[in-house]
């Protein structure tokens, strides 16, 4: 599903974000990427999303190469990803339902099916009653749930969540992690970055990628 082979990422200002990364993430895995702020977690996600390209090494996501000058490939990869951005990236001036539908509009889904899928996703995140609320009127937690609903409504092969527990209290953070994990199935991989390691220390069926100063260590805990 995702293969990084000796991938390094150096930004134009010469900052070394990732150094010689080798990872192979399989379908249906839950992956936690942990590490302190600035360790390279978000850079790793950016690579997978095609927002950055490897400076060296090869990266393949969902069977497609991510490299410079492959915008068509990257678009196709992104359509199979359900991203939950750290800052949500909801579109203001629209309702929650419209925001969730926005992620599916260009996937060739019939409007009726699209609306049903969006409603279902909103129900799943507990916001069915707020589907007609404007997103700018939602609380932080609610906005995050809308972002998750938008990510999962399009039935992605890969869910990427960047710091979904940031700014949330313990209970809400646990709820959000539980919610994201609930979307995992045999074909859907869930990758979550977090610096709140205390929230996931008891996890037993997941892969843990710890990033520190651009280098990673991998631990697979499966019962």
């Amino acid at each position: 599903m995702i293969i990084l082979d000796k991938v390094s990422l150096i930004y134009t200002d010469k900052t070394q974000a990732l150094i010689d990364i080798n990872v192979n993430i399989k379908p249906g895995e839950i992956v936690y990427i942990t590490g302190p702020s600035g360790s390279g977690k978000t850079s790793l996600l950016k690579l997978i999303m095609g927002m950055e390209y490897p400076t060296s090494g090869t990266l393949s996501v969902l069977g497609r190469q991510v490299k410079n000058n492959s915008s068509g490939n990257i678009r196709k990869i992104r359509r199979c990803i359900g991203p939950v951005f750290q800052e949500f990236k909801l579109i203001e001036g629209r309702t929650t339902l419209e925001n969730v539908m926005m992620g599916m509009r260009f996937l060739g889904v019939k409007p009726r099916i699209m609306k049903a899928a969006a409603n279902e996703a909103l129900e799943k995140v507990g916001l069915g009653h707020k589907k007609l609320s404007m997103v700018e009127n939602l609380s932080w937690g609610e906005s995050q749930r809308v972002a998750i609903a938008r990510a999962v409504a399009r039935k992605p092969s890969l869910i990427l969540a960047d710091e979904p527990t940031g700014n949330l209290d313990y209970d809400n953070a646990i709820n959000i992690l539980g919610l994201l994990k609930s979307f995992k199935d045999e074909n859907t991989t869930v990758i979550i970055t977090t610096h709140a390691t205390h929230l996931i220390e008891d996890e037993q069926n997941a892969t843990f990628i710890s990033v520190d100063k651009g280098r990673i260590t991998i631990e697979r805990r499966y019962q």
Partner: protein
């Protein structure tokens, strides 16, 4: 394509939203585009009328041949037939002294009283020779050299001047079309860029979700077309009012001015201006959209 069809309603809604986002600025743009297109409409209509005038005058092009004094009326008739058979001559007719005087009286109107001062009719008979304008030089030379013709009068200078004016109008028309086209494209592409800038977060999010550029850009194309089309409709309606008003005021006072039927002009403008605005809107939007092309 399927995504496109499924989202027609969304595209229209988005266009409305983009327009509402900068409503006042967009209203001014519509008015500005309308005024520019109105200016173009006026020039094109003026060129049209000028062209028609030249065509009509060309059809009326004639040379008047004046007889030598000694010719009898039979010889004058023979001469008229002879000239009528020349290449480039459409018809000939003898205008006698009385008809020549009557014509002048009509031209002079109230001033015709001056002719009463003459004891005798001061006008001469002549041959009215209708010619093809293209053969004007050739015919004039031939008629001049015909025995029995003393001298000739032609309206070549007038025709040439009108042709020059029409040519200038035509050039002005083309320049206006180019100027209007470029101005509209610049205004519109600027508006589209502004719209894109105002929605850059949304565009960025759509890109990250894997949206194709066409899907992101289509509402902006629709917006551009809609704004210029509204400008075109305003210009077309203004032209219709203007032409109506002009015909009412000019048509009455200069009845001999060979204006084309006003319905013809109005129909042309009401079809032509919105069509042009549609094309300009489409091109301007594409031009503006080039700024959101993905860098990678």
């Amino acid at each position: 394509m399927r995504s496109f069809l499924f989202n027609i309603g969304y595209f229209i809604k988005e266009s409305g939203r983009i327009i509402r986002l900068n409503l006042l600025s967009n209203i001014f743009s519509i008015i500005g585009t309308g005024l520019i297109l109105l200016l173009l409409g006026i020039v094109v209509t003026g060129t049209d009328i000028g062209n028609r005038l030249v065509v009509m005058l060309n059809e009326e092009a004639e040379v008047n041949g004046y007889f030598s004094e000694l010719l009898t009326s039979e010889q004058k008739d023979e001469l008229a037939v002879k000239i009528g058979n020349m290449d480039g001559v459409r018809s000939t007719r003898i205008v006698d002294e009385d008809e020549a005087k009557t014509r002048m009286e009509k031209v002079l109107g109230e001033e015709a009283k001056i002719l009463e001062l003459f004891d005798d009719n001061p006008f001469e008979a002549f041959i009215e020779i209708r010619i093809n304008v293209d053969s004007m030089d050739f015919v004039i030379d031939n008629v001049k050299n015909t025995n029995g013709i003393e001298y000739i009068r032609d309206n070549r200078d007038v025709l040439e001047k009108i042709q020059d004016i029409t040519y200038a109008l035509k050039v002005l028309g083309y320049l206006m079309i180019a100027a209007v086209g470029i101005t509209t494209l610049i205004i519109l592409s600027h508006m589209i860029r502004q719209g894109i800038y105002n929605n850059k977060d949304q565009i960025n999010t759509l890109r990250l979700l894997g949206s194709p550029g066409v899907f992101i850009g289509f509402p902006y194309i629709l917006t551009g077309i809609l704004l210029t089309l509204l400008g075109g409709i305003i210009a077309a309606l203004s032209m219709a009012i203007l032409i109506n008003g002009a015909y009412e005021s000019i048509g009455g006072t200069i009845p001999f001015l060979p204006l084309p039927p006003k319905e013809e002009l109005i129909n042309k403008m009401t079809l032509w201006l919105p069509t042009l605005s549609f094309v300009l809107g489409f091109l301007g939007s594409l031009f503006g959209l080039s700024s959101i092309r993905e860098k990678s």
